[in-house]
C-alpha cells in the first residue's frame, strides 16, 4: 500500500525537517487537500490516491528558509527543477519524496460524469478503474477518461529529482509527439478563427486570479503587475481587452518557464484553457533553443540568457 509506505518515508525524515507537505482528506470523499505536518502524530492523517492532484511544490519558495519535506509526483518534480534553475529554493533545505504516478483525477470531469451529484464514496481499483457512489447509485469510470489532459501525454511519470522514491519507477508509454499535438492542431485554424476562439474564452474570465495564485512559477505574488497601480498595466474594468491583457501578462511572464503542471487550468472556475498559451511558448522554446523547462537543474531558462550568434533566429524582412 503506497499510503503506508509514504507515511513510513515521511516518518523517516521527519526529525530532519521543520514541516512536511503532503495530502489529507478534504471536505468530502472526492477532494484531497494539502496538509502541513509539523507534529509526528499528524502523519496518520496523510493519504495518497489519484485525487492528490495539487502541486505541493508551489509552497516551497515561500518556505525557502525552512527545512521542508515535500511529496511530489512526476509532473510536480519538474517545478522543483525549475525552482533550482532560477535559484528560488535551496535544494539542501528540501527533502523530496517522489511517487511514481499513473495519472490523477480531474475532479471536474468526475462531477461532470455524475451530473454533479454529491459523492458518497469513491474507491480505486488496481487497473485504473474508479467506482463512484452517489445517492443515485454507483458508476464505474476509467482513470484514462477522467484524468486531466496533462496526464494523457505525460512524459515524466517518475519524478526527475527525489531523495526517496516510494514505489517502483514507471516509464512513460506516451509518444513525445503527442505532447503538443493539440497546439499544432490549433495552428491549422485561420487567424480569424483563432482570434475568435481566444476572445470567446477570455471573455468568460472573471479576473479572480485563481490561475495566477495557483501557479507555482508566478513568484511575484503580491507585487503582480496585474494589480499594481504603479505601474498601472490594467484597470479593474471588466472589458475583453483588460481580460486579454491579464492573460497575456500571465503567459509572457511564464515564457519558457512554465512546467505545464496544469494548476492554472485546474484552478480556473470558468474552464478557460489557460495553459494553452504557455504550452505554445514552450513549443517555440523547444524548437528555437532546444529547451524544455524543469528537466535539467543546470540549465538556464532561454529568456534569461542569449547566444551572440543565434542560428535559429532568422532576420525578418518586410
Amino acid at each position: 500500500m503506497i499510503s503506508q509506505r509514504l507515511r513510513e518515508a515521511i516518518a523517516g525524515v521527519f526529525s530532519e525537517v521543520d514541516v512536511a507537505l503532503a495530502y489529507q482528506q478534504g471536505f468530502d470523499k472526492l477532494h484531497a487537500t494539502p496538509c502541513f505536518m509539523t507534529m509526528p502524530e499528524e502523519i496518520n492523517k496523510l493519504i495518497w490516491n489519484p485525487l492528490c492532484v495539487h502541486n505541493l511544490t508551489s509552497y516551497l519558495p515561500s518556505l525557502k528558509k525552512k527545512k521542508v519535506a515535500v511529496v511530489v509526483k512526476g509532473c510536480d518534480s519538474r517545478t522543483i527543477v525549475q525552482f533550482m534553475q532560477e535559484g528560488l529554493i535551496n535544494r539542501e533545505n528540501v527533502v523530496i519524496i517522489g511517487i511514481p504516478c499513473n495519472g490523477v483525477i480531474s475532479v471536474n470531469k468526475v462531477l461532470h460524469e455524475t451530473n454533479h451529484e454529491p459523492i458518497e464514496d469513491i474507491t480505486f481499483g488496481e487497473n485504473g478503474e474508479i467506482t463512484v457512489k452517489t445517492l443515485k447509485g454507483e458508476k464505474t469510470l476509467l482513470l484514462s477518461d477522467v484524468c486531466p489532459d496533462k496526464c494523457k501525454t505525460c512524459q515524466y511519470p517518475t519524478p526527475i529529482v527525489y531523495d526517496r522514491l516510494v514505489g517502483d519507477p514507471i516509464t512513460s508509454d506516451k509518444s513525445p509527439d503527442s505532447v503538443y499535438a493539440d497546439i499544432k492542431e490549433f495552428e491549422n485554424k485561420t487567424l480569424e478563427e483563432r482570434l475568435q476562439y481566444w476572445e470567446q474564452e477570455f471573455d468568460r474570465c472573471i479576473r479572480c486570479y485563481a490561475c495566477r495564485n495557483a501557479c507555482p512559477m508566478c513568484i511575484c505574488q503580491d507585487s503582480c503587475i496585474a494589480e499594481t497601480r504603479d505601474p498601472h498595466w490594467i484597470s479593474q474594468r471588466a472589458t475583453l481587452s483588460e481580460k486579454f491583457m491579464f492573460h497575456m501578462i500571465h503567459a509572457l511572464h511564464l515564457a519558457g518557464r512554465c512546467v505545464e503542471c496544469g494548476e492554472c487550468e485546474r484552478a480556473c472556475p470558468m474552464g478557460i484553457p489557460v495553459n494553452k498559451l504557455k504550452r505554445k511558448i514552450n513549443l517555440d522554446m523547444k524548437e528555437l533553443f532546444g529547451y524544455e523547462p524543469g528537466i535539467d537543474p543546470e540549465d538556464k531558462p532561454p529568456l534569461y540568457t542569449f547566444k551572440v550568434d543565434e542560428v535559429t533566429i532568422k532576420e525578418h524582412k518586410i
Binding site: 498595466w233 533553443f289 529568456l303 542569449f306 533566429i313 525578418h316 518586410i318
Partner: protein
C-alpha cells in the same frame, strides 16, 4: 504628409536611444520623406522593450508595432539587444497563435548612421500595415 494615400493608421515604434532613435534623427536631418503613421517612443535600449509593451499597444488601438535597436554586437549596454532578440522572436511566434497577424509586428536593427535604412523600413512597414488594414475595424465601427 503620409506617403500612403489612405486614412492614417496608428503604428507605434519603440526605438533604442543609442542607435535607432539616432537613425531616425539622421533620416529627419537628411530630409528623407517618411510616412507619418508612426509614433515613436524612445527607450534606453531594445532590451527595455517588454513584449507586453507590444501586446498592450496592439490590444489598445495600435495597428502595428515596430521595434528597432542597435545591431547585434553593437549594443550600448553590451548585451541588451541579445536578450531583446530572443524575447521579440518569442512574441513574433506567439502573435499568430492569438489570432493577430504577425506582419503587424516587426523588429529590426538600425544604427544611428543608417538614415536610409530607417526610411526604407518605416515606409515598407507602414505600407504593409496599410495593406492589412486597421486591426480594430470592427470595434471602431460599433462604438
Amino acid at each position: 504628409m503620409s506617403d500612403v494615400a489612405a486614412r492614417e493608421l496608428r503604428i507605434v515604434g519603440f526605438l533604442c536611444n543609442w542607435c535607432s532613435y539616432g537613425g531616425a534623427d539622421t533620416a529627419g536631418v537628411s530630409r528623407f520623406k517618411q510616412p507619418t503613421d508612426l509614433r515613436i517612443i524612445r527607450v534606453p535600449c531594445s532590451g527595455r522593450v517588454d513584449p507586453l509593451f507590444i501586446v498592450k499597444a496592439l490590444l489598445n488601438g495600435a495597428d502595428g508595432v515596430l521595434v528597432s535597436g542597435c545591431h547585434p554586437r553593437d549594443c550600448h549596454y553590451t548585451d541588451g539587444n541579445f536578450y531583446a532578440r530572443r524575447r521579440l522572436e518569442m512574441l513574433k511566434r506567439l502573435l499568430p497563435f492569438l489570432g493577430i497577424d504577425e506582419r503587424r509586428f516587426h523588429y529590426t536593427w538600425i544604427s544611428a548612421s543608417e538614415g536610409g535604412k530607417w526610411q526604407q523600413t518605416v515606409t515598407d512597414f507602414t505600407k504593409r500595415v496599410h495593406e492589412l488594414g486597421p486591426l480594430h475595424a470592427k470595434k471602431e465601427a460599433t462604438p
